[in-house]
Symmetry: C2
């Protein structure tokens, strides 16, 4: 006898016990957001207990409405800047709490910044107190407007400290620093995911990100707004792929930052054409001025994720866009572009 | 009559009145530090009222002992992280509060980071409440380990977010962001000085910066420790030049970051040789491993300071080093290297 717990259940229940033993208590901060709600759903489907914390600043209660009745799911409406009173064990914390699109994070830039610093310190303190492993949703924005075409984790970025994107970019950089400190000097198991552009069902139609913008514009027959000449590129990762990457990173032994994204590269014009084609929309393309500090290119080098997590995205853009259009069509309650035009008055 | 105050004093007192009218109330956070104490002294000598705030974490009371009896000078021992209760008018705030050398800012990295963020937010809030103009002592460290030989203010830097220098580098970058936000969106008059290596009397002998290290080692006959091959370069600005630059920036209409430093470039070996020669020391040079993320080169492009402030440093290194050696000789109470060797047992 080695002193470990011996199952008292009869033979044949091993599967149940194994599942019971790996059931975890997981805190998802920002769990009512676009990515957070998908993560909560996946964790619940795997049998874990999930506490979803969200201040509903940009998260939406409808994103988690299907989970609310689940006995293993609990929602707490709270800002991570407020003191967290945690009772009981806690195995993992995913911190996805922060507005992620420029129009939203620029609404209250000081709050955005404090969310990434004081809020992060609160969660790191909770991780230290409970022994939980903690993952930070960092971002490709820590690379700013990159000078290299494929961004690897060793690249130190090109971020303007004094500009309208800095409250988010520098906040997220600072959060990585705080994670590094707690990981290196305070014995906390930290994980840092640098998340590139992600899309999929439950993106907010109003958050101003390009995929949701284009789809909503195409479905409602509104003009499709392209910033600048539309030749700037982005790489888009479908949300299911990202959630798989976040879980793989959490389960790994890697405390270094890890890029999670899809290296497939598309110009804004290519994306607009794809959306127009799939929605059979009659929307026109119109050009708007490029915002200040808008990056010309973003494309993840995911060799570290491949090597250390065995992870790579699997959903092609064509397919992911189709799924996302179906979602938005349902949310907007439109079935075809002609009807959409009527709705758009 | 235009309603403005009319002097009631007799003709001949205009000079006095002019001086009275431009007498300001100035808060110097970190005023007991190396640079801060020189700034306090200059401001007092110009007739201003100075409140010096310092938590004495790295600032030293002896730095301001000569000022303590002055009726226009007041010292408050306080951390800028604590709530500031300010009564009465306030014209200017200089924020120099933060440990500035790696061994000191790495002692409590989270406190260092919070000083640069939550502490800075406290001071910016005070500036907003009082209408004071506020200057942030930023740093060449926001450029990290630069890829360009002469760093101008548009250069976005090469900073590692996950390393031992990040608590300071990213903290200082974050402080610039907070200054920009308050300047752009909250009507606060902000000034941002990116300060390069500064040296002079009252550097702490223990803070581990290269000039004080070399001088103390040479004066006490200890080995002179050179990190790496000693061919990395630095640019050194004498403290009087820096103080003049800070005042010129505060008086200017420039809310953009401005480099303040001396572009004269010297290798660590050249500096060591100069110190050895001037102290007539018998200390030996010994090599130590280069610390993680130690920048290979730092040299300011000061064309913006020249154009907008009409400022340039005037004290040659040879001269500044001589003055600094005299100061340290006094502080260490040594008059010649032979005596120093006895003291160093």
């Amino acid at each position: 006898m080695d002193g470990s717990l011996v199952p008292v259940v009869a033979t044949g229940c091993e599967d149940f016990m194994a599942r019971f033993r790996r059931r975890k208590v997981v805190l998802v901060a920002g769990g009512a957001g676009f990515v957070g709600s998908h993560l909560c759903e996946t964790l619940i489907s795997e049998g874990h207990s999930v506490v979803c914390l969200d201040n509903l600043q940009t998260g939406r209660i409808q994103n988690i409405s299907a989970l609310q009745a689940h006995p293993q799911f609990r929602f707490i409406e709270q800002d991570i800047l407020d003191r967290l009173n945690w009772q009981g064990p806690l195995d993992e914390i995913y911190n996805l709490a922060c507005p992620a699109s420029p129009p939203l994070y620029q609404r209250d830039p000081i709050h955005t910044f404090r969310t990434c610093t004081e809020g992060v310190l609160n969660l790191l303190g909770l991780a230290k107190a409970t022994g939980a492993r903690i993952l930070q949703a960092s971002t490709s924005e820590v690379y700013g407007d990159p000078e290299i075409t494929l961004q690897h984790e060793g690249y130190r970025g090109c971020v303007n400290t004094v500009g309208p994107r800095a409250c988010y970019d520098e906040g997220k950089r600072a959060a990585e620093t705080l994670f590094w400190e707690f990981g290196t000097h305070m014995g906390v198991e930290v994980r840092i995911a640098r998340i590139f552009n992600t899309y999929g069902p439950r993106m907010s139609p109003e958050d101003g990100r390009v995929v949701s913008n284009f789809i909503v514009q195409a479905l409602t027959g509104a003009d499709i707004t392209i910033y600048g000449d539309g030749m700037q590129t982005r790489s888009f990762c479908y949300v299911d792929d990202l959630v798989a990457g976040l879980k793989a990173l959490m389960a790994s032994e890697t405390s270094d930052p890890v890029n999670l994204g899809n290296p497939g590269e598309f110009t804004m014009r290519e994306l607009a054409d794809m959306v127009l084609r799939q929605t059979d929309s009659r929307s026109r393309l119109v050009q708007c001025p490029l915002p200040v500090d808008d990056p010309r290119q973003r494309r993840p080098d995911i060799s570290r994720a491949a090597a250390r997590l065995g992870w790579a995205p699997t959903v092609p853009l064509e397919e992911g866009i189709a799924r996302t259009i179906r979602h938005f069509a349902g949310e907007l309650q439109v079935s075809d572009p002609c009807e959409a035009l009527l709705h758009h008055v």
